[in-house]
């Protein structure tokens, strides 16, 4: 088979019907451009949501689960009997992790771990004026916490270090501070669930850009939280871990669970709503892209089909003068491929321009998300995929008319 000659014929056919060629091309161009814009944007949104979720959640959290689902004394004493227990209540047990600080020290030694932060978490009320506002307080070693969540970078006013020199200081989330109308230097009272009161001073205000954190959480020193909860110096309720590789955290959580016999939760589990959203958006991209490409494919199929019908005489002539079926297939398939490749390249270019425009378009998400423009990802992978999709679609759409052309019986046409 002589590709060169088929290529030359294909080229001549395309160039003599410039308008038709252009229209077929634009179909592919439009499909690919939309594919690029959509995938870049939706992947950008996914990445942004994942990042902001990951920013505020540990890769692995170790905690103690308080549950009523424990074997009762009767069952332990009389395991073979038919025991009925109504309204079983949780045991009066501490929510702490025994030897928490020791576990922290052990995990810190693992080279795959970026940082470990022990915490004491508790629900509290913030009292400023008559109405108590519900929130959470986290007693932390702020330097360790900073290593996990870069608190220092997120402090909007005041300073993170002030917490170290002020035993009764707290760092407050921006939305909570706004609701309570407090500024750095203001004092307010916090009330624990057990009824203890404590006067604390706001030494800094931070913002993660996530409502569920900024609107409820305060950071304080471990010793102060231990004091208001009336617990000892080794009382720790949570251990937060950040890994160097977030994907490794999912397996590491299981290892820790087996090792220390405490409940663990990895980031994917903690953000399962986000992850489901991810999957749905990804599925949407694929469905819409396939639809667009199928439409473009039908466009090419139609145009190539008409092309073949218009060129019946030429095909008969080529066959009479010694062109084999595969040469004819090549002539028409090459046309489709040229249309596909040029259309797809143009589509990539337009797709890139549109995604760039989108990425610099201002977008106000309010307090909920810390984002100023639409999140868009520029990844060469999507462009390669777009090109591949475009070319594959056009080859499929072009092959059927090309095969039809190769099956034309020259005798029927030449005899008239």
């Amino acid at each position: 088979m002589n590709i060169q000659i088929s290529l030359q014929i294909a080229k001549t056919h395309l160039l003599t019907k410039k308008k038709q060629t252009l229209i077929a091309m634009l179909g592919v161009t439009f499909g690919i451009a939309m594919f690029i814009v959509m995938i870049s944007f939706i992947k950008g949104v996914n990445k942004f949501l994942e990042d902001s979720a990951l920013d505020a959640t540990p890769h692995v959290r170790i905690y103690k689960e308080i549950t009523s689902n424990h074997p009762s004394l009767i069952e332990e004493a009389n395991p073979k009997a038919f025991n009925v227990i109504h309204h079983q209540l949780p045991k009066n047990e501490l929510a702490n992790i025994k030897n928490g600080l020791q576990i922290v020290a052990n995990i810190e030694k693992d080279p795959a771990v970026l940082g470990v932060s022990p915490q004491i978490g508790s629900q509290v009320f913030f009292n400023k004026g008559p109405i108590p506002v519900a929130g959470q307080i986290a007693g932390v070693d702020i330097l360790k916490e900073d290593k996990l969540y870069s608190i220092k970078r997120r402090v909007k006013s005041g300073s993170m270090e002030a917490l170290l020199s002020n035993p009764n200081g707290i760092l407050m989330g921006t939305i909570l501070a706004r609701n309570l109308n407090v500024k750095v230097g203001d004092k307010l009272t916090i009330t624990t669930p057990t009824g203890n009161l404590k006067l604390v001073k706001v030494v800094g205000i931070y913002g993660f850009g996530i409502q569920t954190v900024d609107g409820v959480r305060c950071y304080a020193n471990m010793s102060m939280v231990q004091e208001i909860l009336q617990k000892d110096k080794s009382y720790v309720t949570d251990i937060h871990i950040k890994m160097k590789d977030s994907q490794a955290a999912i397996d590491y959580a299981k290892v820790l669970k087996n090792q220390y016999r405490y409940q663990t939760q990895d980031w994917a589990e903690a953000n399962s709503a986000f992850m489901t959203g991810d999957k749905i958006r990804n599925a949407m991209v694929i469905i819409v892209s396939i639809t667009l490409l199928v439409v473009a494919g039908f466009g090419i199929y139609n145009i190539m089909n008409m092309n073949v019908i218009n060129k019946m005489k030429d095909i008969a002539i080529l066959k009479a003068t010694g062109f084999a079926g595969k040469d004819i297939v090549a002539v028409f398939l090459i046309q489709s491929i040229i249309i596909g490749v040029l259309g797809a390249c143009l589509g990539l270019l337009i797709g890139f321009s549109l995604s760039y425009l989108l990425s610099i378009t201002p977008f106000d998400a309010g307090d909920f998300l810390a984002v100023k423009t639409f999140p868009v990802i520029f990844n060469i992978k999507y462009y390669i995929m777009g090109l591949a999709f475009g070319v594959i679609t056009t080859i499929l759409a072009g092959y059927m008319p090309a095969r039809k052309a190769s099956k034309i019986d020259p005798v029927a046409i030449l005899r008239g």
Partner: protein, 224 residues
């Protein structure tokens, strides 16, 4: 030396009902012969020509050309055979309209791939000169008159120096003057280049000038 032999060719049409078009046709053609197939419309002469052309493979019997048995070969093998050994001239000239005259003539040779593109171009000019069309080489083929197109089609048929040139009423669509030109070119090819020519014709003047006439009637050869 025989270049073509057809033996016991039978052909049926099945639409609208079974009908035998060719009945046990056998004949041979020698090298350098200028042969005409004549007969009334519907006698099967065109059908026979398209069987000889190898494009119609739905027949019974055996067809040999150049000492090669062609019956039973695949379409692609036959295409390659046509490319190298056969040239065609049709009634309605059938040039590719998007291509220039020169490109039309060159295409079968480029397909054969025996010569480089440069040599093919040179040979195409020679063939065009033979039919006195070399002055129009770079024109779009659709811009030519009917007679001119037919001469270009002859040049195209000659480009690979085929053993046999077949014509389906090559002068059927031309005026007297152009018919004469075409006839003279054919005669020259047969007698000077010793290439075999087989044409179907309705034109009695054209047939009279040939070396040999095969007359057909009702699917049989009645005079040869």
């Amino acid at each position: 030396m025989k270049v073509l032999s057809a033996s016991h060719i039978n052909k049926y049409f099945y639409e609208p009902e079974k009908f035998q078009v060719l009945k046990n046709i056998s004949f041979e053609v020698r090298k350098g012969e200028f042969l005409s197939l004549v007969g009334k419309s519907g006698c099967g002469k065109s059908t026979l020509l398209y069987i000889l052309s190898t494009m119609d493979t739905d027949y019974e019997g055996i067809l040999e050309m150049n000492g090669e048995k062609l019956t039973g070969k695949t379409q692609d093998q036959l295409a390659a055979f046509r490319n190298e050994h056969l040239g065609f001239v049709f009634q309605f000239h059938f040039l590719l309209p998007e291509f220039t005259v020169l490109q039309n003539v060159m295409l079968p040779a480029l397909k054969l791939g025996k010569y480089s593109a440069k040599e093919v171009e040179e040979r195409a000019y020679q063939k065009l000169k033979l039919v006195d069309m070399d002055g129009h080489a770079l024109k779009q083929s659709s811009k030519l008159s009917g007679g001119q197109q037919q001469r270009v089609a002859i040049a195209r048929a000659l480009i690979n120096d085929p053993t046999i040139i077949m014509g389906d009423e090559p002068t059927g669509n031309l005026d007297k003057k152009n018919s004469e030109i075409v006839f003279n070119i054919f005669k020259q090819i047969a007698h000077e280049n010793h290439q075999t020519i087989i044409t179907v014709t309705h034109d009695p003047d054209f047939a009279k000038g040939c070396d040999r006439i095969i007359e057909m009637s009702d699917g049989q050869i009645i005079k040869s």
